[in-house]
Amino acid sequence: MKRIHVHEEYCIGCRLCEIHCLVQHSKSKKILKAFKEEIPRAVARVSVQEHGYLSFALQCRHCEEAPCLEACITGAMHRDRKTEAVLYDEEKCVGCWMCIMVCPFGVIKRDLNSKRVASKCDLCMGEEMPVCVRNCPNEALTFEEGIGT
């Protein structure tokens, strides 16, 4: 499957990926509205990790053997048959947060705007390319086949 590959040597820590991810997962999908009007503000599913000069954007790795799939008690977390992406179904989520506990990358977050829903990368289903990849100014994120880094 096509995955988001991280090239930390070119990540400039601008966090534009986070901004565009937030907009993509907002109600209006418009940047000014998403930031200035929508309350509560949508949550970005990617986050930039920084330590000294090193930085990189991290989002769900869509693991082949995904612990979150096994941990999910309701089947809300599931593998998309067509794309093989790990997605979750808001309707089925009961908010037990087991997925958050078992995720080895720490990339599933609570969506504090709702009682139950977990928030994670959905590879921007429907878009040709995830918005974090499309808007990375330095091509530190790429969308390619393979496991990558």
Binding site: Y10, I12, C14, I19, L32, N138, A140
Partner: protein, 506 residues
Amino acid sequence: MALTLYPSEFRIERDQERCIACQVCVRQCANDCHIYDAEDDSVSTDESRCVGCHRCATLCPTGAITIRETSMHFRTNANWSARALKDVYKQAETGGVLLTGMGCDRPYPTYFDRILLNASQVTNPSIDPLREPMELRTFLGSKPDRIELDYSGGDIRLATNLGPQLVLETPILFSAMSYGSISYNACWALARAAKAAGTFYNTGEGGLHSDFYEYGENTIAQVASGRFGVHADYLDVAAALEIKIGQGAKPGIGGHLPGEKVSEQISQTRMIPVGTDALSPAPHHDIYSIEDLRQLIFALKEATRYSKPVGVKIAAVHNVAPIASGIVRAGADIVAIDGLRGGTGAAPTIIRDNVGIPIELAIAAVDNRLRDEGIRHRASVIAAGGFRNSADIIKAIALGADAVYVATGALVAMGCHLCQKCYTGKCNWGIATQDPYLTKRLNPNIAERRLTNLLRGWSLEIKEMLGGMGINAIESLRGNREHLRGVGMTEGELKILGIKSAGEAW
């Protein structure tokens, strides 16, 4: 501390209706012009440090930032311009030599803008480069006085031994920029683009990082007055060598790479201790005459077993023509001439803006002199300094250059916005800096792509212009000044350029 009299050069306008306080600008500005206030979740600006590099405005996701030149006007004074006043204020505060980067930005005439190209109409057919072959391949190196052919055995063979030549697929090379003045990634991108486009890049006086030895076939290695990084492998791996005598931005001046830029990697490459200033003396201390220069040229030729061309680079100064003649007679295979508008990573502003002559006049003067003396074929001429587009390049070739060196254009292609602050080491575009936080901003994959695109675009345009003139090989245009006409120039300028005035025909 006393109040500074030096006003902000730029005004940062932030459209609060658009600003989403995402802090991209805060993170991108190495000059700390943008400040985030967590208490009221807003971003404010301190424009006193703004250099006008546009990094923040370019990356702002909502287009909330506009950079303007400050609108504060001094009372109009034809003699004491705002720039003159500001320079005095700055100097009165610092007591030092004012430094700058990039090439001369003063409004001296740009002769390229006063030269027009010819095109074929009726009496000679123009050529469509999309349908017919068009040759941009250029050979740099010494050409023999005459050619002898060997007809024996039915085949025709060249009996004359040709000296070593550089083969360029397009008459454009990347000019000297050292590792130190620009980042590792910038050097890497230049090397890769030169290889992809079938041309050459120049190491500058900073040696060659061992990682780049694989691009040796596309490398011109410089030997400058500081002799940084010059050793047997360096000379062996390069395709050609260049003795740097002078630079267009600072003729007669040496170089100075501040110690803070001399990292472990640069120290290895330059063969100097970490953290020490890299000082290039103004003259080569072993060259005080053409005869001395000849010794170094032949020392380098001997060291490389006469396998590669050896060039000499000089700044275009008043007596450039006789100096070039001496260089050719000293045995150089290539003469590179860097004009008034040639760039630099750091130079005294006063030198950059007042010393040297425009490259257009220098090319014509050198080409004339070498032809008059019957030695034009003994060396190729590379012109450098301020080529902005393919028209400038084709005009330079028609004036008599074999090829051109492009550096500022290459930096601009990589993202440079000509803020002229290269000497601060805080290049927000990741080019003229060694700060690891900034250097990763230049992704060599993107930079290589943009550089190759630029060379490709310029080459296509050169072919179109050549075709229009009815010429199918760049070699046929060299020194062909009949294809140039001048507008708005004095008799004297036309005479030096060796071109007719527009409207003048055969």
